[in-house]
């Protein structure tokens, strides 16, 4: 078992003829993801990496029954692509595009809700269910099948920590990079709930960072609703206020969104917070053994 993506995933790649779209279509197909279609207006009838291309998501869904979409189009067109997928009946959209205006995401949100579409991203590396499906740009060699759920707001830091888990023999059910933007699709609590309900997941690793209060909400959710152990790490303890630390969402505003606040919230919720990434496997071991 796993969450969100698996062997039943039928993926359509929006922006398949672009450089990134084409490259990652190849990688996802190689990994075994069932990529059924690509979209690139005006190129219906062509193929990319052996995948048929359609003019619209609607056409792709009609022809292939695609149920999941990944978006590689440039930021100014990303919101439109998300809406196109949602209105065509796609139930999970993963938006890789970086630099999408916040207002675009705010406008998109209620339409997705109406249509019952889940969104991951934008500005995210996507997700992977090891051994089943890669829907994203994550480097596959570091992942391993197993029973740890993983959620993170960042990219390479995710790889760093997943790599440590795999080296310590903690395989993963599903690893989700939710992206670093202030207004995004699924947040920590949405995914924590999914992992809580996934029978194969026995514990969750959560990688947060400064900005917003998604971590505080996650801590509250864990304290109130979760039975499975969670171990956390928060990046940005040394970040100065008022500066955007690479991610559009990683900014401490008016004293809110600091790492200290987030760590305190997790500690209060009984979630051990690692001082550095290398500590995570050990905390996970102890937590699973009931030692902390």
């Amino acid at each position: 078992m796993s969450i969100l993506v698996n062997k039943d995933t039928k993926l359509v790649v929006q922006g398949i003829t672009g450089r990134d779209g084409k490259f990652h279509t190849g990688r996802m197909t190689e990994y075994g993801t069932n990529v059924v279609a690509g979209v690139s207006p005006g190129k219906e009838g062509e193929t990319v990496e052996g995948i048929p291309v359609f003019n619209s998501v609607e056409n792709a869904v009609k022809a292939t029954g695609a149920n999941t979409s990944i978006i590689f189009v440039p930021a100014p067109y990303a919101a439109d692509a998300i809406l196109e997928a949602s209105e065509a009946g796609i139930k999970l959209v993963v938006a890789i595009s970086e630099g999408v205006p916040v207002q675009d995401m705010i406008r998109v949100t209620p339409i997705l809700k109406q249509n019952g579409t889940l969104l991951i991203g934008p500005n995210c590396p996507g997700l992977i269910t090891p051994g089943e499906a890669l829907v994203g740009i994550l480097p596959t060699m570091i992942f391993k099948e197993g029973n740890i759920g993983f959620i993170s707001r960042s990219g390479t830091l995710t790889y760093e920590v997943v790599n440590l888990l795999t080296l310590n023999n903690f395989g993963q059910t599903t690893v989700v990079g939710i992206g670093g933007d202030p207004v995004a699709g699924l947040y920590f609590i949405d995914l924590l709930e999914m992992f809580e309900n996934d029978p194969d997941t026995i514990a969750v690793v959560l990688i947060g960072e400064i900005g917003g209060d998604a971590e505080e909400q996650a801590a509250k959710f864990i304290a109130e609703k979760m039975t499975k152990p969670v171990v956390a790490f928060i990046a940005g303890q040394t970040a100065p206020p008022g500066k955007r630390m690479g991610h559009a969402g990683a900014i401490i505003s008016s004293g809110a969104g600091t790492a200290a606040e987030k760590i305190a919230a997790f500690n209060k919720a009984g979630v051990p917070v690692a001082k550095e990434p290398a500590e995570i496997p050990e905390l996970l071991k102890q937590k699973l053994a009931g030692l902390i």
């Binding site: 207002q103 209620p110 994550l138 390479t156 790889y159 202030p182 207004v183 040394t238 690479g246």
Partner: protein, 377 residues
């Protein structure tokens, strides 16, 4: 992106929000001229891109031209949180009956533009939020309908009580919402919005921030940018595909990925060092990017050692190593550098770097320890 108060006031005016006239002045002479022309009690206000201006003495009331000149002399050139005041506005002092706070902000939780309003205006809204959270009205605006007239009116009526005042305030709210959306703002704040003694509603201070991701479609906003020295450096880095923030430590960091870059800074601190910067070079192995990054890093004379921390994902470590090799051929510095490579093809990468003689390691913590050690020599 931030703008000055005088710029926010102009945007407000363009949308029909009542704002008292003001004059932008760079010199005391200009202040004198402005005070004479306004010919009334005025306020002289420092224009700096930081908060806490009032507490720092950057806002002064002047009852006559002489007092205005004195205020101008005191404020122009003063230092507020490390920023030198280069300009002030001189504006008519208002006859305030009551002060309110109104502002729109992008709210992550409701995923909406949210109206924040309070009858406790004139003080920092964060303090009201902390001490009297029930004194703040938070209203998430439905993105599909925008702020509707009845909503603005009902909220204004809660604040102002009187319907005539509320109608004027409601009109300010709908205009402020419209300009927020039109300009891709992330914050549009009027604090205070005042009721004057003759029953007018006016904005007498304004603050606006904008979404950097949306500046490509906001040429008029972009044209208002007045970056300080630090920001100029950050913008220059951005144009080279780098994300750079200067800090006050002495260990330069160069990392691929924002999260990992923050974690790197944190680790340096954890091990007793002090990071000189945040620097994310993104996911490419382009040598030019490494050269640009090193140049930016080393332009900070406090930097005593550099930690390069790369986790290879799609970008393979051997490619990164080759890029580093080329870059290091060009960069001439005596600042010691430690390189950490991990992830895809890390061994091959480390092998390539061997010949440079640089200390190379495979774990973050080793790299941090080494960089700290080097910084102390």
């Amino acid at each position: 992106m931030k703008i000055h108060e005088y710029q926010a006031r102009q945007i407000f005016r363009n949308y029909g929000i009542p704002v008292p006239a003001d004059v932008l002045c760079y010199t005391v002479r200009e202040v004198e001229k402005a005070a004479k022309e306004l010919n009334c009690m005025v306020v002289v206000k420092a224009q700096v891109l930081t908060g806490g201006r009032g507490k720092a003495g950057g806002v002064k009331l002047a009852r006559n031209v002489e007092e205005a000149v004195n205020a101008g002399k005191q404020i122009l050139g003063m230092d507020i949180k490390g920023l030198t005041v280069e300009k002030v506005i001189v504006t008519q002092a208002a006859d305030i009956e009551k002060e309110f706070y109104v502002g729109f902000v992008n709210d992550r939780n409701t995923k909406t533009v949210t109206l924040m309003a309070s009858a406790e205006g004139g003080v920092e809204i964060e303090e009201v939020a902390k001490n009297n959270p029930d004194k703040i009205i938070k209203y998430p605006v439905n993105p599909l309908t925008g702020l509707l007239d009845y909503q603005a009116r009902n909220i204004a009526l809660q604040l102002f009580g009187n319907i005539k005042h509320a109608q004027k305030a409601a009109s300010v709210l709908t205009k402020l919402y419209k300009l927020f959306i039109d300009t891709d703002a992330t914050l549009a704040e009027i604090n205070p919005l005042i009721l004057t003694t003759d029953n007018e509603v006016q904005a007498i201070d304004g603050k606006m921030n904008f979404d950097d991701n949306a500046l490509y479609r906001q040429p008029e906003i972009l044209a208002m940018r007045e970056p300080d020295e630090e920001e100029i450096q950050e913008i220059a880095a951005n144009e080279k595909g780098l994300s750079y923030i200067k800090l006050d430590g002495n260990i330069g960091c160069m990392v691929n990925g924002a999260g990992l870059a923050m974690a790197t800074m944190d680790m340096i601190k954890l091990y007793g060092g002090s990071p000189a910067n945040f620097l994310d070079i993104g996911g490419s192995s382009n040598p030019q990017k490494v050269i640009d990054a090193m140049n930016i890093l080393l332009s900070d004379k406090n930097v005593k050692s550099v930690m390069i921390n790369i986790f290879g994902g799609i970008t393979r470590c051997d490619d990164v190593a080759r890029g580093l090799l080329k870059a290091l051929e060009i960069i001439i510095t005596d600042v010691p550098i430690v390189v950490r490579l991990s992830g895809t093809n890390a061994e091959e990468g480390l092998a390539i770097l061997k010949e440079t003689g640089l200390p190379t390691v495979s774990s973050m913590s080793e790299a941090a320890k080494k960089a700290i050690e080097l910084s102390k020599r």
